[in-house]
Amino acid sequence: MRRKEGLKSTASLRRKEVKQLLRGLGQRVYSDLDNEVFPELLFPSRSVGNIVYDEGLKQYILGKSTVRRSSQNIKHIRPFSQLVWLAYFVNKLVQEGKTSTLRDVFYSAQAYNVEFVDQDESDEIITDLEAVLTKAREDFRVYPEERSAIFGDLTIEYTVPGYEGKRLNLSSHPDGYLIGPSLSTAEFIDTSAKMVLAVEKGGIFTRFVEEKVHKKFKALIIDTAGQPPRSTRYMLKRLNQELGLPVYVVTDGDVYGEHIAMVIISGSANAAHLRELTVSSAKWVGVWASDLLKYKLPSDPMTENDIKRAQELKRDPRYRGGIWQRELELFLKIKRKSELEAFAKYGLTHITDKYLPEKLREAKEL
């Protein structure tokens, strides 16, 4: 086990940065009011027309157009107030080290005489605040309900109230640990892992744990539970950046699997206002369309929706060139898809004994 120097401060640094951003926002609004000027906020527009693909960053980012939300405008004053309230609310969360869910935010507003019509409206304001601060909502302690899991030799130290200083090794419980607020904000203390394996589904995650993939491959195993939630992508990003671990993505052999890998690497259009959720060096291990042929995997015909989705992705700038385009074209040519479980045809351990080592070698060369 090796100890990484200087890691401990990362989470607290981030917390401090968010606090400063929130205070800065408050100060701007306050001083405008105090100078008897209607306060306004300028932030990048998230309209479809302003979501552009950045070739350099290899991800979707927001373009140059901005939204001016002014409290003078009768149509803006309500969302403006909601935004300032949200900043106030999450500032309390950050100060007190508490977390909240998207649903909580919707209900909490009512106590402050700031009402949201429905959760869609409050979710929208949360995304607005992300755009204003250019921080993910997890940074200001708002989490979605959905959670994925992590397992492997990683010692963390909690920073959440009541657990400060408490440490845990993430290989202590074979079902893995939920990637929730306390794990997302924990400091990374120590690890022997050399890589991160992100798998699409719980069944394969459990198989990997049982087959001791974490030991054989010196890997941290993450269950993305389908398209990974942002807290999971954020966790992947931290593992990659703070611990320098390469990330490999293992998905089903279909276009949706390919897209899970793509979102981890290049981000989603929905989060184009955020830059801290992508792991551009991550590799898609498979299952590729070519693997279906190469490993003679049992497969099903693609549905009409599958084909439609494949054609959509073919036009997406993120899929230009490389294996991305090649595999999409092959999916469309063979019009078949397969699942990770299909390797069971060759015995339960085939996937970890044979497929994974071969594909990891191949992926590293990409």
């Binding site: 009011l33 105090d34 209607f38």
Partner: protein
């Protein structure tokens, strides 16, 4: 007239009306009670208006025998007292005790023709109860003369049963008391409606009504402005028929047809008269007395073909005008918004007419939906609404969506048609025929008031928007201040009062809307 019909038994006008009382609105005891009140009140109003006296009219209905057990129909005494000019005692027997045809051809707007309706009520009372009518009138203020009269129906002559005189109190006026068989139970609602309508169309009058139970309904005067009394005019050529033309010829002393044409007709001068006679192929110098019956018919036919006669002017009409109509609407309906539209004079078949339309919106008196108030020569029309041209106009001719008026909006539409001859569809005088000229004028006026209502509603809508805006700033700015103070860790709340004060101009606007409505 009667002496020419040698082949038939003579029939007096009284007898004629006695036999045809259904036509005059006395078809049953309920309708008769209502019609009697209406005719007497209208005679009083006509008299007051002609003399520019602010009317004050008291009406009472009493049971002859005070017995609740007696079912309707039963005898009632109807008393109508006015503060009008009074009637010269010498004329009282003929004015009230005889069905009277005027021989004049002059026209002017009035409610009834020659007071015939009043006499009809007296006649009806007499034939159902055999009781005389009592009339008390003060003509000069010095003395009050009381008459008890009956009508000799067969000979159409008044019979004076009693005539008393006592010193007057200096005021003028007439009281008419009729005993007649009526059905108050069935007529009560219409009678009450009649007074309400009447109060709306004559806001310069004070009406007091005491019903058989002794309940008093008072309609106070809402304005002291009165419509100007109409002038009398000659008949217009387009309105003339062969019989009327023949009578004009008979009484004429004019030496030539030319002079006859330009002396006896409205808006016909020598030039037009000459052109007309040339058009009709008659010698302008021919003596009117020499015209044969065939020539008379040919001449009248030519009148209706000649299209150069000028339209009648409206000096013989007495419209309410927007001020009085508006006062009446506001007084009786207390609407949130009221407006009027007065059309310029128009004419049909040689009879001038003016359409006046009022609109009331909202307020406490109106319920959702459209309520139509119809008037003709200031007479409320209460029966057969669905057959009336006004109903046709508002129910078919108008696309309310175009005026952005909500479907359930509480609307009152008041139509007043005044004319020297109201185009009633039946002798019952309850609804107007859909003459195209009349329909067009009504449509234009109704559209005009609806446009004004749309303007008001739009303005009100934008004012309410301003009001909402004010509330929104008042709600959210303090919240923004509170949260940003906390976020920025400032020691005191920001001073942003001016931002809300800037909205004062909008408060101003808000006040204006309250004045507007």
């Amino acid at each position: 007239m009667a002496n020419r019909q040698v082949a038939f038994a003579e029939i007096s006008p009284s007898e004629f009306f006695y036999r045809n009382r259904d036509l005059a609105g006395f078809s049953n005891p309920a309708r008769a009670l209502y019609s009697a009140i209406r005719e007497l009140v209208e005679n009083s109003l006509d008299a007051c208006e002609l003399f520019q006296i602010l009317p004050e009219i008291n009406v009472a209905i009493e049971e002859v025998e005070r017995n609740i057990e007696n079912p309707d129909p039963k005898p009632y005494v109807v008393t109508v007292r006015d503060n009008g000019p009074g009637v010269d005692p010498r004329h009282v027997p003929n004015a009230f005790g005889r069905v009277f045809f005027g021989s004049k051809f002059l026209l002017r707007q009035s409610r009834g023709m020659f007071g015939m309706g009043g006499t009809m009520a007296i006649l009806y009372g007499q034939i159902t109860t055999s009781k005389p009518v009592s009339i008390m009138t003060s003509f000069d203020g010095n003395s009050t003369i009381a008459f008890d009269l009956m009508i000799d129906i067969q000979s159409n002559r008044p019979i004076v049963l009693r005539k008393d005189s006592k010193p007057g109190d200096g005021s003028t006026g007439t009281t008419v008391k009729i005993t007649l068989e009526g059905d108050y139970f069935r007529a009560a609602q219409k009678i009450q409606d009649y007074f309400k309508h009447c109060a709306m169309v004559t806001p310069y009058s004070k009406l007091t009504y005491v019903d058989p139970q002794g309940r008093v309904l008072v309609f106070e005067r809402g304005t002291s402005a009165m419509p100007t009394a109409p002038e009398e005019t000659l008949p217009h050529p387009y309105g003339i028929d062969v019989e009327a033309f023949r009578r004009l010829l008979k009484q004429s002393t004019d030496p030539s047809l030319l002079k006859f044409m330009y002396s006896n007709f409205h808006r016909v001068g020598p030039k037009i008269a000459l052109r007309f006679l040339q058009f009709a192929g008659f010698d302008p110098n021919k003596s009117p007395a020499e015209l044969t019956a065939e020539e008379t018919v040919a001449l009248v036919e030519a009148i209706h073909k000649f299209d150069e006669f000028l339209q009648p002017d409206a000096s013989c009409l007495s419209p309410l005008g927007s001020e009085i109509l508006d006062a009446g609407i506001r007084k009786e309906l207390q609407p949130e918004f009221a407006t009027t539209s007065i059309r310029p004079p128009s004419a049909y078949s040689g009879y001038p007419f003016i359409v006046e339309v009022g609109l009331a919106y909202g307020g406490r008196a109106l319920s959702p939906g459209v309520k139509l108030f119809r008037f003709a020569n200031r007479i409320p029309l209460l029966y057969d609404e669905a057959s009336d041209v006004s109903w046709k106009v508002i129910s078919e001719g108008i696309d309310r969506k175009r005026y952005h008026i909500p479907p359930d909006a509480p609307l009152g539409i008041i139509t007043h048609v005044c004319s020297t001859k109201i185009p009633y569809k039946t002798v019952g005088k309850e609804y107007l025929a859909d003459r195209p000229e009349l329909e067009r004028e009504l449509k234009n006026a109704v559209r005009d008031v609806l446009r004004k209502l749309r303007g008001y509603l739009t303005k009100k809508g934008s004012m309410e928007m301003v009001k909402r805006k004010l509330n929104i700033y008042g709600k959210y700015l303090p919240l923004i201040a509170k949260f940003s103070t906390d976020l920025s860790k400032a020691k005191r709340p920001p001073r942003y009062g001016k931002l809300i004060a800037q909205r004062d101009s909008r408060r101003e606007a808000q006040r204006r809307i309250e004045e507007y409505s």
